[in-house]
């Protein structure tokens, strides 16, 4: 990502003039002996040695073209992360995708498209882009340091050939006139260069606008900072998910969390040691008009303790209004209903009593599916929960509103071995009925408070009432703030490099024709002037220089073309501004 602009030097009438012209118009920010870069990254093949191959590979990697292609690939690689469900943010949808696309999903999974941002190929692009940026920024830093220490080039012999030039007579001697110009340009914070001992002539070279390079460097370093910040988050950050029902408490430990995604240098003991209770959850829905049933707001009232033994505090979590505990944030990412059941076994003992989370199958109506497992009574139930029940056609149970206005549960019962005692891990949302027998009488419709006495003296199940659950995401990303700061700095750097111009002003003075006073020529050159203004700045500077070196001779504004050939200041005592648009930048 080198940013080098080569000026095409115009041939002067003599060899010395040509040299001076070339030096004056040498690329901004480069030293006099530095070869011009092409920025192509070395398209030619490598020499047939290991070192040659290494140098060639490094040149390829650090070329602007490769960096741009990698940046494009990074953007392209992120697309599947937006289109396909991701394990990190929505594992349930990934499972659903596998169910609905049984042949395609395994292939997508092999390509890592369900966890794009952790996929090896995505990491490869990321690492290569990082290396490419490092390879660009490090040499660029040295270049800037070198540039900052490089004096402006010597003044060209013929300033009239520069895009902007003006000449005028001065009453001062050539030395004094150049001194006066130096005081003006020095006052404007130009970096100055005067003839060294042994150099002939009276001249001054001045350069300004090094902030452009600083901005350029700031931009590159900040990009590097953004990547480092993301890496910081990936190494030391973590993200966990947990589902809790009203009245339930969880502590932020891996054993109590549904999903745990730890950074590479994070262990389970590093999680923030807070505990949190869901006191109450409220979901508001629009109950009239065209948007009936649409969510109007979600509020989770929680109490939490930042560490074991710490005092308990209360707070409210809403969508986009997370709870901050130390450096972690707790987001509200989902909700649903948890009907409360009491299952009594054949022996008459209560074998199961808990609020059981049901997962919404339809987020518009909140019709939800779930299972109840009472392994110690050898009973299991598959259920459908409808928050506002409506019996369509007298036979089909549907939900017509997402709020629990008329909750009902439809259950199918099973008796037998649930398979839990085998020691295998089972999903709490699925019932393995392979070793169970369906109980007659299902699906059985239940309202809150009702009990279904199971046939065959198997026991009973009571639908006690309805609670709600929320899904919380706990995130810790130490790279978030640095990434924001680096992003702002990158923008600032970009603006600096856009709006600050590198510009050079040269002054030459020769003795007047009659040996009195001098003729002063001022020339100006800038690399790019996209935002405009150098012409005005040059005119103002030239006027200031004319004022201090020859107060009695006001600057004329009559234009003249530089194509008329080399100016002849000794023969021309009148002010002669030469302004033309720059074409070589």
């Amino acid at each position: 990502m080198t940013d080098v602009h080569a000026h095409s030097a115009k041939a002067g009438p003599g060899a010395e003039t040509a040299d001076l012209d070339r030096e004056a118009t040498r690329p901004f920010g480069t030293g006099p002996v530095e070869p011009a870069e092409t920025g192509r990254g070395g398209a030619s093949g490598p020499p047939p040695t290991a070192a040659g191959w290494g140098r060639w590979a490094w040149r390829q990697l650090t070329s602007m073209r490769t960096a741009l292609i990698l940046l494009f690939l990074l953007a392209l690689g992120s697309v599947p992360g937006s289109i396909l469900p991701q394990e990190g943010s929505d594992p349930a949808s990934v499972t659903q995708y596998f169910t609905s696309h049984p042949s395609l999903a395994p292939w997508l999974n092999r390509l890592g498209l369900f966890n794009v941002f952790a996929a090896p190929w995505f990491a490869a692009i990321y690492i290569l882009l990082f290396a490419s940026l490092v390879g660009c920024v490090v040499p660029r830093t040295f270049k800037l340091v070198g540039s900052a220490r490089t004096p402006p080039p010597r003044a060209p012999r013929n300033l009239a050939r520069l895009p902007h030039s003006v000449s005028y007579p001065s009453a001062l001697s050539p030395d004094a006139a150049v001194d006066a110009a130096a005081s003006v340009l020095g006052g404007q914070r130009f970096r100055l260069r005067r003839p060294a001992a042994g150099d002939s002539g009276h001249w001054l070279a001045a350069e300004k606008g090094y902030l452009r390079e600083v901005g350029n460097l700031l931009f590159h370093l900040s990009l590097l900072g953004v990547l480092l910040s993301i890496a910081l988050g990936g190494l030391f950050g973590y993200k966990t998910d947990e589902l809790i029902t009203e009245g339930q408490t969880f502590s932020d430990t891996p054993a109590q969390l549904a999903e745990v995604h730890l950074g590479r240098l994070v262990s389970g003991s590093d999680l923030a040691p807070f505990s949190l209770t869901l006191d109450k959850f409220t979901a508001d829905y629009i109950d009239s008009g065209a948007s009936i049933g649409q969510p109007a707001g979600f509020t989770a009232n929680v109490s939490y303790s930042a560490a074991p033994g710490d005092p308990t505090k209360t707070d409210v979590i809403q969508v986009n209004h997370p709870l901050s505990v130390d450096s972690t944030k707790v987001y509200l990412i989902g909700h649903g209903y948890a009907p409360e059941f009491k299952v009594t076994g054949a022996n008459g003992q209560v074998a199961y009593s808990a609020a059981t989370p049901f997962i919404p199958a339809n987020t518009n109506t909140m019709l939800s599916d779930g299972v109840v497992k009472a392994p110690d009574a050898s009973l299991g139930f598959e259920g459908v929960f409808v928050p506002t029940a409506y019996m369509a056609n007298g036979t089909t149970l549907e939900s017509i509103f997402p709020a629990a206005n008329n909750p009902e549960v439809s259950l199918i019962g099973y008796s037998g071995n649930l398979g839990l005692n085998s020691g295998e891990t089972q999903s709490v949302y699925q019932l393995d009925t392979s070793q169970m027998k369906e109980i007659a009488g299902g699906p059985h419709l239940m309202t809150p408070g009702s009990t279904w006495k199971l046939p065959g003296n198997l026991g009973s199940i009571t639908y006690v009432g309805t609670k709600q659950w929320v899904s919380l995401e706990v995130t810790y990303d130490p790279g978030q703030i640095p990434a924001l700061v680096c992003g702002i700095l990158a923008l600032a750097g970009l603006l600096l490099s856009f709006f600050v111009r590198r510009r050079r002003v040269f002054v030459r003075a020769v003795p007047g024709a009659d040996g009195i006073g001098s003729v002063v020529t001022v020339g100006g050159l800038t690399r790019t002037d996209a935002s405009g203004g150098f012409e005005d700045e040059f005119a103002s500077l030239a006027a200031d220089i004319a004022d201090v070196s020859s107060p009695s001779a006001p600057l004329s504004s009559a234009p003249s073309s530089s194509d008329a050939g080399p100016a002849a200041p000794a023969d021309n005592q009148k002010p002669e501004p030469n302004n033309q648009p720059e074409t070589g930048a």
Binding site: F250, A255, V260, S275, S422, G423, E424
Partner: protein, 192 residues
């Protein structure tokens, strides 16, 4: 000529990026791994002198009896973190019952820590498997959280063996097996 040179440049650049991507993928795959400290091990042992302190806690058992963990000092304690909803916990229940019957009379104390559960479900589990040693009613997970600060507990079931001085001699991540338990027990007998 110009066209050929340009095409060669494009092919060269594409080849270079492909090679670098392959190198990057290989590096990424080779260096990838889980962040969990005990990802590839189901047993962790801590040598005497380098054992984490087991946290002291007071709690209530599933039957409502107060439990003060400090009162267990002077005994080797087998502390099992479990839940009635957890399949692997049900799978290891018979082994734990057998170990309790074998080593309980030798002065080794067994204690459960029942997390994210209801007493009704948990007591049904215990009675169904004939387990008689007490379990902490840790529905909020507060006790487990203190333990997880001391050692990396990644899930249920997890079994800690605590020596007589109140230091954690080791832990089994997953269902208890007889050989692993014996190894930990022998280790725990050696104190600092």
């Amino acid at each position: 000529m110009v066209f050929k040179a340009k095409r060669r440049t494009v092919v060269t650049t594409a080849a270079a990026i492909f090679v670098l991507l392959v190198v990057g993928i290989v590096v990424s795959v080779v260096t990838s791994g889980s962040g969990a400290a005990n990802a590839n091990a189901d047993m962790i042992t801590y040598p005497a002198g380098h054992r984490p302190d087991a946290p002291d806690f007071t709690a209530t058992s599933l039957t409502g009896t107060p439990i003060n963990f400090a009162s267990y000092r002077g005994k080797i304690v087998v502390l099992n973190v479990w839940g009635s909803w957890c399949g692997p916990c049900r799978g290891e229940a018979t082994t734990l019952k057998y170990l309790d019957e074998q080593y309980g009379p030798q002065g080794i104390a067994f204690l459960g820590d029942d997390i994210q559960d209801t007493p009704t479900n948990a007591l049904n589990f215990l009675s169904g498997h004939g387990i008689t040693y007490p379990s902490v009613n840790d529905a909020s997970g507060a006790v487990e959280e203190r333990l997880a600060i001391a050692v990396p507990i990644s899930g249920t079931p997890t079994t800690l063996v605590i020596d007589k001085t109140g230091h954690i001699a080791g832990m089994i991540d997953g269902p208890v097996t007889y050989p692993e338990f014996n190894t930990l027990l022998q280790d725990a007998k050696v104190t600092q």
